[in-house]
Symmetry: C2
DNA sequence: GTTCCGCATGAATCGATAG
DNA sequence: ACTATCGATTCATGCGGAA
């Protein structure tokens, strides 16, 4: 009641399991405070190209982001987590510092910088240059509001030992690859059954391949990336927010894991893409 | 001659292949400018248990470092590289920001932040904590003085990945016979594309195991870590500086790769350890 | 029904060329 | 001079079609 009065007539229900078109700054203003359990997103990267539709200029990137992360902070539950997948661009042989500045600014905004996970992209973009190698990793910055927060480490345990090895070796090549690269098949979920047998906790380095599908828009990150954090930081039925949902990858992960999602994007074509990704899932439910 | 006058009577010779005891701030003042090809080091971290550790203050870590990196900048050749292996400490569940601040400050000092390599520690320290997983990576920040610098990418090429490996190995069963017996076969032509193609350039993610030697002081990083950067950024006979040499790992790597080293540490017991590590190498030369 | 190859495709980066 | 666009380089992955 008190909560309700503080948020006026705000209610979470109209936002649940929707892909909404607009600037998350505006849309999130309609959400009640402390209403989502996890925010996981990959925001548009700072870009020099002014012609780029979603390109956010490097100058002012931090301020642009802070305005929105203030809303993230309001709508996130106090035991929730905020996962930010970013990587700074290299311009004229020098790495941009706006991500470093953003981390410092988010801390000033009241966020606790709890961890920095490394997403190791096994299949990084090819190329050769005189002064650097291929870029094969991205930051997954973990921020929280409190020192203690919801975390379910057992849900992301990985198989080890002879028992798992034998079982893995008996699987076909395709199944094994699928098990490693995707959380959507039953094999990955059964890993939780191995708790107490031969399962180990992972580290803060995630080894995942990017998905190279021949679609019009390819997902910038694989389903298994948000899925990993969703399993780690939420329970069944929890609400996951992605304020820059792009191709809808986070929504797909939520659907597969029985979490509720709120997806936002300012680009109408991305919104359409995300909506069709969700619709396709409902038509062809994944074997779980 | 001009160079000599500018540096007064400074000469590099007395420093070559020595482990020197003292604060690198003082010792490096005696080196000529532009005299070393590579600086690779893992500096001491400020420890919150004491007011200072090895002379490193907690407050003012950045200022403490900048004073020394000014000397690094002076003694480093203009086509040289500076590799800084660091990882911020986590205090009360929150990650320190002094490394981020250091990167920004080094940029202000005139360094170019060229790259951030990730050292993925394959066998990270075991343990379990309620709100984080095992820490399995460290930053290897790459700074340079100029846009172009010495880099020998071929020296660190790695075997090709699973894709080529798997497909090539599968050839050996039936198809390789066919390829050998019939040169006009179209398939044999395709195989030829892969002949000699067993090595690829690495990425900016290094997969190295930590060394678990039964020493008194465990080396903070394995020989293979400085060795990788030494091979990448220097040639035979070049001079490598480690201003915080600790257990002497960088000197060992230099000895194995026929580079010259200058090692400095303020802690006398570390100096003794590093000196004995080098002495042991000379008694028992490594198979190369 | 499997297994296996061919091919397109990436949150890339640099240097050259064009406006 | 300064910016915008384009081609070259390169390799792990998934998918479609073939054997």
């Amino acid at each position: 009641m008190k909560e309700k009065r503080r948020n006026g007539s705000k209610a979470i229900a109209p936002f649940k399991n929707k892909i909404l078109q607009g600037d998350c700054l505006d849309i999130l203003a309609g959400l009640p405070r402390e209403s989502v359990n996890l925010i996981v997103t990959s925001p548009p990267y700072a870009d020099n190209r002014k012609s780029s539709y979603e390109g956010v200029p490097i100058d002012g990137y931090v301020d642009w982001f802070l305005e929105r992360s203030a809303q993230f902070q309001r709508v996130l539950r106090s035991d929730g987590s905020f996962i930010l997948n970013v990587k700074e661009r290299t311009v004229k042989g020098e790495k941009g510092t706006y991500i470093l500045e953003l981390v410092l600014a988010l801390k000033d905004q009241g966020w606790r910088w709890t961890e920095e996970y490394i997403w190791h992209k096994k299949n990084s973009y090819p190329g050769k240059w005189p002064n650097r190698f291929r870029d094969a990793w991205e930051r997954c910055l973990h921020f929280t509001k409190q020192k203690s927060f919801k975390m379910f480490q057992e849900s992301v345990m990985v198989p080890t030992g002879d028992w798992a090895k034998g079982r893995l070796s008996r699987l076909s090549q395709v199944d094994r690859l699928r098990a490693e690269s995707s959380a959507q098949n039953g094999f990955a979920k059964n890993v939780s059954n191995w708790v107490g047998r031969d399962a180990a906790y992972p580290t803060n380095v995630l080894h995942l391949a990017t998905e190279c599908k021949n679609r019009q828009h390819s997902a910038p990150f694989p389903v298994s990336l948000p899925a990993w954090f969703i399993k780690l930081f939420t329970e069944d039925g929890d609400i996951v927010l992605d304020p820059f949902i792009g191709a809808g990858t986070t929504a797909v992960a939520c659907h597969q894991l029985d979490r509720q999602f709120i997806g936002i994007d300012s680009n109408p074509s991305y919104v359409a893409l995300a909506r069709s990704a969700v619709a396709n899932l409902k038509r062809h439910p994944v074997q779980r």
